[in-house]
């Protein structure tokens, strides 16, 4: 969680967004002024303590979950199928996305929201494929949250029945806890990482519906055991679907595109 990595969310930048304007997908306009009026309580009867207890009983992530529900309703209204792609840095998410867009060209409109701490390099790579993309820079933040996605949606014109791919910040910990309003989380594990990533970062593999085992073209050069990786993933999430792919050679891509087709048509 973010209390572990100490990240902050005060430096978030969304391409094209005015930092002082905040209008949500549902039309709510608000600004993030941080004024706090401390009016001292003067009117207490002598002898009574001003202190009292207030029951809260609310989940800490309640606020994010409320924004995620708004995003989800927005996607449902336009029949937009949204995937949240999560992985550690360097698993090949952006390359996989570029190849996916190329192969869907002509059949499916794809829009991309890119999350990185800094630079818009990934959004530029996506835009080079012809797909609209918007970059969110999280600054010190280690994950995207539903509030940021809501603001990014204001900058995008999502066509009806299109596909929205959100590439989360490379991090196997915090993005697991933050619902963005997506239909599914897809976790990408590359074979140059350890087989035991699923049990080291169980929340992420538990939260995902699909695991893409990427860079499979490198298997002949590695000691990576696909069988073991799959066993570990199924241990933390018995229901997880798994596809072996190589964005580089195109192996497994047809199966991945078929998965998108099946899930987006409401299977």
């Amino acid at each position: 969680m973010c209390t572990t990595c100490g990240c902050g969310s005060d430096e978030v930048k969304i391409e094209g967004a005015d930092p002082h304007e905040h209008v949500h997908a549902d039309g709510t306009r608000h600004s993030h002024s941080h004024e706090h009026a401390y009016v001292p309580a003067h009117s207490h009867a002598p002898g009574t303590s001003a202190k009292r207890m207030v029951q809260i009983e609310q989940d800490i992530l309640a606020k994010n979950n409320a924004y995620a529900a708004q995003n989800r309703a927005f996607f449902a209204g336009r029949r937009v199928f949204t995937l949240n792609l999560v992985s550690s840095p360097g698993s090949g998410k952006t390359t996989l996305l570029c190849k996916t867009i190329e192969q869907l060209r002509g059949n499916q409109h794809v829009t991309v929201i890119e999350g990185d701490q800094q630079t818009s390099q990934d959004a530029e790579r996506i835009r080079a494929t012809g797909a609209p993309a918007i970059q969110i820079n999280t600054g010190k933040g280690c994950h995207l949250d539903a509030h940021m996605i809501g603001h990014a949606l204001e900058q995008l014109d999502l066509p009806e029945r299109s596909l929205l791919m959100i590439e989360n910040v490379g991090n196997l910990v915090c993005p697991a806890a933050f619902d963005l309003g997506e239909a599914h989380k897809v976790v990408i594990l590359s074979v140059t990482e350890g087989e035991d990533k699923p049990i080291k970062y169980p929340d992420m593999f538990r939260a995902a519906s699909l695991m893409l085992l990427n860079k499979c073209d490198l298997l002949p050069h590695l000691d990576f055991s696909v069988k073991e990786a799959i066993a570990y993933a199924r241990r933390v999430n018995p229901a997880i679907e798994i596809i072996e792919v190589s964005a580089k050679t195109g192996a497994g891509m047809a199966e991945w595109l078929d998965w998108i087709e099946r899930k987006s048509s409401g299977e």
């Binding site: 309580a41 202190k51 809260i56």
Partner: protein, 110 residues
């Protein structure tokens, strides 16, 4: 840090609802399987609440134990880690039933 900010937001929402101006103690219920570092949470809470209505507030953490339902044993068992093995049979068919909570339980306010 985002979690600490989430706590502050819940406090500020409650302040608007209940009409209080200061918070002196905050009780959080954090499950042992929630993946939250208590020391990091305390540090972040202090940083986030500086200059807020909860500045200087005492943060009390109520740790709730990790529990799971083991299918083969048909019993509730104690779990030390998420998706860990059942301490009785060593199997992994254990559904987490408790210990993932991250809740603001109550506040002492003035």
């Amino acid at each position: 840090m985002s979690l600490a900010e989430g706590v502050l937001q819940l406090i500020e929402d409650a302040a608007r609802r209940e009409g209080f101006q200061r918070v002196t103690t905050v009780w959080l219920e954090i499950g042992q399987l929630a993946g939250v570092e208590v020391e990091a949470m305390k540090f972040c809470f202090d940083a986030v609440t500086r200059d807020s209505m909860a500045a200087g507030a005492q943060l009390e953490i109520i740790a709730t134990p990790g529990t799971g339902w083991c299918l083969p044993c048909g019993e509730t068992v104690e779990l030390a880690e998420v998706y860990g093995a059942c301490p009785r049979c060593g199997g992994y068919q254990v559904q987490v039933t408790g210990g993932k909570e991250m809740r603001v339980k109550e506040l002492e306010v003035a």
